[in-house]
Amino acid sequence: MEEFLSIFIKSAFVENLVLSYFLGMCSYLAVSKTVKTASGLGLAVIFVLGITVPINWLINRYLLSENGILGMDLTFLRFILFIAVIASMVQLVEMVVEKVSPALYNSLGIFLPLITVNCAILGASLFMISREYNFSESVAFGLGGGFGWFLAIVAMAAIREKLKYSDIPAPLRGLGIAFIITGLMGMAFMGMMGIDPAIFFSGK
């Protein structure tokens, strides 16, 4: 349990998918204009990540690895299988959202199917492989990563709502300032890793 919690916190805050690895930027920048749609997309991402990471763990362990069911090293099929799992999960989420909340479905528009190509989702599965998590750790990592993405996009949307009233040079408005704010937020999140001041000023 302790392990579970520590991985959850670590993947949500310290190794935040958006603000530390800059994954899933496209939809992060495009959907973060109002808090309402941002939180809707954030919840969808939590759901998709929380399910696909463990499923991909099972596929990788029991289907693709050498000591799995097939007894062959099929890791070169990893990308195609992972993407297929993600695409079908997203299709499922899309149907659920359409039934439960048509208003949210309309406001998310094209970005709901585009969760499929949100790099955070595939990135989390690949990180799960490269960090060699076990099953329960991969569940925690999926949920924590999704939660971190949700927090980041809601925070960004809240800032951008306020930003409408500030006096920004015209060429910087919109996209430019969004990048700079994301950079500042990234640096703030980096503080959770514990910055060694020596890294900044060592001049190696």
Partner: protein
């Protein structure tokens, strides 16, 4: 649409349209700064020049050939399953790139780690397939792919140039032509211990952190939009 079809006959001497397809993505329709596609990898791999050049070549290859393939098949793909078809083709091309890199340039492969795999979900590839290749003939789609790959590459190279220069004081480290440019040491390109040019410079490690890429990208957008006012606030 009709203009594009007219240029279909003249294949080799490039028509004006084709030149536009190839060079428009470099500035006016840049995939990163204008279409806001493919940001993730533009930020993550740019701490040094070498990996970002490799990444730019890999992405150009994948976009160009997936555009070509999808454009050839565009009349036979049913609308409902097009996403899966596109993803399978992209994943196939990315697997080729990954295995090639792993075989011939292992250190770079290690450095790029998951980001080679993430070309699959690079929105540029998907975005160009949906927006261009599904509606245009193969040769033009191929050119559009090359153009967008170059537009992406040029941003990557600008960002990584500044990040490597100010973050490490070197350029092209990891290759035979590695150059040390600024900072104080005798094995630099210009001997900065006897000659005080830039000898005072100490590396700014902020530039190595990914956040610096965001600031640089913000500034590139600022510069581009102040030169090219018709791009202002379209996002």
């Amino acid at each position: 649409m009709s203009e594009i079809k007219e240029s279909k006959k003249a294949l080799f001497p490039m028509t004006k349209k084709e030149r536009k397809l190839l060079f428009d993505p470099l500035n006016d329709n840049n995939p990163v700064t204008v279409q806001v596609l493919g940001i993730c990898s533009a930020l993550a791999v740019t701490s040094m020049l070498l990996p970002s050049i490799v990444m730019a070549i890999a992405v150009t290859f994948v976009i160009a050939f997936s555009n070509l393939a999808i454009s050839m098949m565009r009349k036979y793909i049913p609308k409902q399953v097009r996403m899966i078809v596109q993803l399978v083709i992209i994943a196939f091309l990315v697997t080729i790139v990954e295995l090639t890199l792993k075989a011939y340039s292992y250190p770079v492969y290690k450095q790029l780690s998951v980001f080679i795999g993430l070309i699959i979900t690079n929105c540029i590839v998907m975005g160009r397939l949906e927006a261009f290749a599904m509606a245009n003939p193969p040769w033009q789609s191929f050119l559009d792919g090359i153009g967008n790959g170059l537009g992406y590459g040029i941003i990557l190279i600008i960002i990584s140039f500044f990040r490597e220069l100010f973050g490490r004081g070197t350029l092209m480290s990891g290759t035979p032509i590695e150059m040390k440019i600024i900072g104080s040491s005798s094995d630099f390109w210009i001997d900065t211990t006897t000659n005080s040019w830039f000898g005072w410079y100490t590396n700014n490690n902020l530039m190595v952190l990914p956040a610096a890429a965001l600031f640089l990208l913000g500034m590139i957008i600022w510069y581009q939009r102040s030169k090219n006012t018709k791009l202002v606030d379209i996002s």
